[in-house]
Amino acid sequence: MLLVEAWQFIVAHPDRFFGALLTHVTLSAAALALATAIALPTGVWLAGTRRAASIAIATANVGRTLPSLAVLALVMPLLGTGFLPSLFALTLLALPPILLNSYTGIRQVEPEIVDAARGMGMTRGEIVRKVELPIATPVIFAGIRTAAVQVVSGAVLAAYIGGGGLGDFITAGIAMMALPQLLVGAIPATLLALGADQLFGRLQRALTPKGL
């Protein structure tokens, strides 16, 4: 019964629903792309250093424990409300898992393999691109997958700081105790998170070089 009413709400307000869905996907995808662009190269670079790594890794480990809503809320007094502050907060949330996994993935590559590559005359850049990154792909993608689910999940909370997205229906639904509206936000958000998890799981398998 509730499901039928939720469906009717979507049919009656298609612009609002698809607008929110589009905002949700854009916000999540942009945050994930930004975080990957920053954290992946940083993680790979850190794996080759000694001193910088321990501080950065410790920071990332602390960052990973911070509650999503607390991070979103802290951004509001600093940057205000809206899409960009939400994007900033969600990017911050996505950094630690990608950074930690990129770092661990590269560090896990056996030194013998790197030595062999060097013996074959590969340059440092070639070793990273042709040897270390392919071997580290499964671990790196596991990090991106974790971050993706976290970002889709966090984007629901972005509604509180005016980020838009599917969370808007949930907050409105709770405020008015309109149960069908709750489902209009909650069910698509759940499907989106499960979808992101599946998608990145598949990508992880598809991009892992054969023989690993």
């Binding site: 424990t65 509650p67 991070v71 802290l74 007094p77 509180y160 489902l183 958000a189 759940t190 499960l194």
Partner: protein, 206 residues
């Protein structure tokens, strides 16, 4: 800072509520995970089904989960606790089962040879040896639960999130800072203390 000094009692109450709902959820989830995890350590099919189902629950966005429970249990603490238990199960069941499976076969054989029953082996050999791995799971679950509890204020479960939400709706920055930073500090303290416990247990096991 001025706001915090004038309202420290309000912050303490919120922190207290936060600790109560978080520890209740962890306690319930821990008992369930021990039972299911022990079972899953014995049978591969149970392991796979348990992890698939709880893995799905773990992927659901927090606020969506709380919202989906409203038509079933309404607003309040019960809603929050169900959600928090559901989020902790995957990590803890996995670690209980994996921890028990990692106990060396020879140790279990030796215990059997000494005439121990299956229950004695479980309680006196397998669980103690699996403890560091179990605590590692407890650590991740605790941090997760503290994080979920912040959002749970929105369904009237109380806790530090109440400060954040009332700060956001009144556009009162000190309240937001206090709520958010206390929640962050709580998560960090819980993570570090359980990490300590874990490494102490690992050293003692050797």
């Amino acid at each position: 800072m001025k706001w915090l000094l004038a309202n420290w009692d309000q912050v303490l109450i919120a922190l207290g509520q936060h600790l109560v709902i978080a520890s209740t959820s962890i306690a319930i989830a821990f008992i369930l995970s021990l039972l299911i995890g022990i079972w899953a350590a014995r049978y591969e099919s149970v392991f796979r089904v348990a992890l698939t189902v709880t893995g799905l629950l773990y992927t659901i966005p927090t606020l969506a989960f709380l919202a989906l429970l409203i038509p079933v249990v309404g607003l309040g603490r019960a809603n929050a606790i169900i959600c928090m238990v559901a989020f902790s199960l995957m990590i803890m069941i996995r670690n209980v089962a994996v921890g028990i499976r990692e106990v060396p076969r020879e140790v279990v054989d030796a215990a059997q040879g000494m005439g121990m029953s299956a229950t004695q082996i479980l309680i006196r050999i397998e669980l103690p040896l699996a403890l560091p791995v179990i605590v590692a799971g407890l650590r991740i679950a605790t941090v997760t639960v503290i994080s979920v509890a912040v959002v749970a204020a929105y369904v009237n479960a109380g806790g530090l999130g109440t400060l954040i939400f009332s700060g956001i709706s009144n556009d009162h920055a000190p309240k937001i800072w206090t709520g958010a930073l206390t929640a962050c500090a709580l998560a960090i303290v819980a993570d570090l203390s359980l990490a300590r416990l874990e490494s102490w247990l690992r050293r003692r096991a050797r």
